[in-house]
Amino acid sequence: MFKLFKTILKTGEATLKYPFAPMPISPGFRGKPEHTPEQCIACAACAIACPANALTMSNDTEAGTRTWQLFLGRCIFCGRCEEVCPTKAIVLSEEFELAVGNKSDLYHKATFKLANCTCCEKPFAPQKEIEYTVDLLKQTGMSAAAVEAKRNLLQTCPDCKRKQSLQVTDKVELTRFMKKGSEA
């Protein structure tokens, strides 16, 4: 019993001053994901990686926009989004005080403009993602003229690309061997 009192005395006050003093947290703590829209290219890698479906991407083809959305109510703070982000647009901060008075405050949104396909003129990919690819090509040492020539291809949607390549295969004579067989 005496030992116990000694321990209690030695310990002093164990209660933390939080929330009146900041709470110490360990380095590398995974808290609220912080999104930097300027840095984001809306590639949706984070939305695919998110195991909890807290991160979602939705396209509005009428308005020609893509909306990135984080619902903190579903977030499990695993940091998979941070791992896959190619541009470091999403980083897990050390913030853990996430209580809100209104549920809608748990939603974070960012809207990006979609680029139209040069062929069919329908929106298909975020403009920023295309610009990012163009910049990457420039970084590889490609000449400005060559990059601009590529731009046309980058600005074409997968559907149109498929159609274009079909037109090319149209000219290939597929029945060459069949003819040979019938002739023989």
Binding site: L4, T7, A14, S26, R30, P51, A52
Partner: protein, 571 residues
């Protein structure tokens, strides 16, 4: 496959099985060199399981059904036996159940440990275990439609919430008492913080004559969710959420099951880090339970002190995993977070402090006369009952059986370390408390050793191939005992079937026998001693069977009575 063929452990069990039951084995498949699945004829199921269980030293780990109609037209039932006498391995007995009749012979009359599993198969698949003595529902609520069996592939979407079919609770609590008894319901809210349950104590005066309970009020349908909504590689994050305390154990068990199925070799460094984190989890879990043991015997100062020190274990978890709960660091094939020099040094420092402070506190706890007086001889788990029901963890180790997955089936970083197995022969609450105290220090020693002997190399094995319909077991020794997962992959980057069995699932069935013969004031203590995290109920209704009168008193009253043992609320 050739690597398995050379080093099969436990082949002699199968050979003996073929000899004892000729012509019953239809197929023999090895998942790893210590895991074999034998498909047998359905009619022989009870005899084969009984023979493996009692004659060959097996223990039931888990049993489950699988809707394999889209693969071969039948259902299948799997009985997983952990063989622990002499040669240690897992033998899975599998039998196919005809989809039209849906009947299979119940094993429960021969092996008691199968009772919960077979009741669950009945609920979830609508298969009929013929001869099952207890045909009440286990998992599904009382107001669930009779013909809707959630885990069948063709019944329902995971989002379906059917209309209730009944407004009354029609679950019958079983009372084996011969004389008249009073009935005390504990619950149904929050008997434990992670598993609300409804207890019915049948008492004669102060003595518990019999007890029965209803669980699964918070069944979350995780298995269905994992099978339908998520990719197989995302389930590790869901498996974390199985438990609020030993979540990491579940995600390791899940990841191991997929790794075993796909033949992925996890790099040694990742394995050691996994086991370090498992032990960190054990540290804070055991401190929690030791603290609660203090609380329930009325030594609240000790409770506060244990919880103060436990905070250091939580800091450790936060530092090593980036989250206070050891969540979100596991991946199939390895781990996401390294332990570097700064973290290693900080861990060693914190462990030193923990060791010193907990040693002092445990000494103090054991010197408190109240503890021995309240826990010695209380909540006896008879070794025979233990043998019949296959409980796990400190619960069974206190009844004299040296069952510990870490030494029986070494996994992760335990392969190169001989983990001591702590046992006691007292069979009571005190024994379980002492085992937890001893294991706490073993965990510290293990982490210290592992930090000093950490292998170098990558953290993640990459580039594995998804093999449709492959399956295997994954297992872990969580703080409360063996956690076992069985996964079968589908053909769509998802799971076909996932069965996760938490350790407490194996510890509930024998609890009834542990409660018998004790007094009401010991009930919270006994329930807490199997460590279902926390034992608290919102209210207690007391029914006087003789007068047909019922009164409701707050649970805090029962808990207070449990601690002070004065002014019985029954009078």
């Amino acid at each position: 496959m050739s690597a398995i063929a050379e080093t099969k452990v436990g082949q002699h069990y199968i050979d003996a099985l073929r000899q004892r039951f000729p012509f019953t084995v239809l197929k023999e498949e090895w998942q790893t060199n210590e895991q074999v699945t034998v498909t047998i004829k359905l009619g022989d199921l009870p005899n084969v399981v009984e023979w493996l269980y009692y004659n060959q030293g097996g223990w039931i780990s888990v049993l489950f059904a699988n809707d394999e109609r889209s693969i071969h037209g039948n259902f299948a039932v799997y009985y997983v036996l952990s063989m622990e006498a002499g040669v240690k391995c897992y033998v899975v007995v599998r039998a196919e159940v005809d989809a039209r009749t849906g009947e299979f012979p119940s094993v429960t009359p021969k092996v008691d440990a199968c009772v919960w599993g077979e009741r669950e198969i009945r609920d979830m698949y609508g298969l009929k275990p013929v001869g099952l003595p207890d045909e009440r529902r286990l998992v599904l609520p009382d107001d669930w439609p009779e013909t809707l069996h959630p885990l069948r592939k063709d019944t329902m979407d995971y989002r379906v919430r059917p209309e209730p079919t009944s407004n009354v609770e029609n679950y019958k609590f079983v009372n084996d008492a011969s004389g008249e008894t009073r009935e005390i319901p504990l619950g149904p809210l929050h008997i434990t913080s992670d598993e609300p349950g409804h207890f019915r104590l049948f008492v004669d005066g102060e003595d518990i004559v019999d007890a029965d309970y209803r669980m699964f009020y918070v069944h979350r349908g995780m298995e269905k969710l994992a099978e339908t909504r998520m990719g197989y590689d995302e389930v590790t994050f869901l498996a974390d959420r199985v438990c609020g305390i030993c979540g990491f154990a579940h995600s390791v068990a899940y990841a191991t099951s997929v790794e075993n199925a796909l033949g992925i070799v996890v790099p040694p460094r990742a394995q050691v880090i996994r086991s370090i984190m498992l032990e960190v989890e054990r540290l804070h879990s055991h401190l929690l339970n030791l603290g609660l043991a203090c609380h329930f015997v009325g030594f609240d100062t000790g409770f506060m002190q244990f919880f103060r020190i436990r905070e250091k274990a939580m800091t450790l978890a936060e530092m090593l995993t980036g989250a206070r709960k050891t969540y979100g660091v596991n991946l199939i094939g390895g781990i996401r977070r390294d332990i570097q020099k700064a973290e290693r040094l900080a861990t060693q420092k914190l462990l030193g402090e923990l060791k010193k402070e907990v040693t002092e506190l445990v000494d103090m706890l054991l010197e408190t006369p109240n503890l021995t007086q309240r826990t010695s001889g209380i909540g006896r788990l008879d070794p025979e009952v233990a043998r019949n029901f296959s409980p796990v963890g400190p619960n069974i180790r206190a009844s004299g059986f040296a069952r510990d997955t870490r030494s029986d089936h070494p996994f992760c970083g335990y392969k190169n370390y001989s983990m001591p197995v702590r046992t006691k022969n007292t069979c009571d609450v005190l024994g379980r408390v002492l085992i937890r105290a001893e294991e706490f220090f073993d965990s510290i020693d293990f982490i210290m050793y592992s930090l000093d002997n950490m292998p170098n190399g990558p953290l993640l094995a990459e580039g594995h191939v998804y093999k449709p319909y492959s399956f295997a077991l994954g297992f872990v020794e969580a703080p409360r005992g063996e956690d076992i997962h069985w996964s079968m992959l589908g053909d769509n980057q998802k799971l076909y079937r996932w069965r996760a069995r938490a350790s407490t699932y194996a510890n509930w069935p024998p609890l009834r026998y542990m409660l018998r013969g004790n007094t009401i004031s010991d009930a919270p203590l006994i329930v807490a001693s199997i460590d279902p995290c926390y034992s608290c109920t919102d209210r207690v209704t007391m029914i006087d069977v003789r007068k047909g009168k019922s009164t409701t008193v707050p649970y805090s009253e029962i808990e207070r009575y449990g601690r002070e043992r004065k002014n019985s609320p029954l009078k």
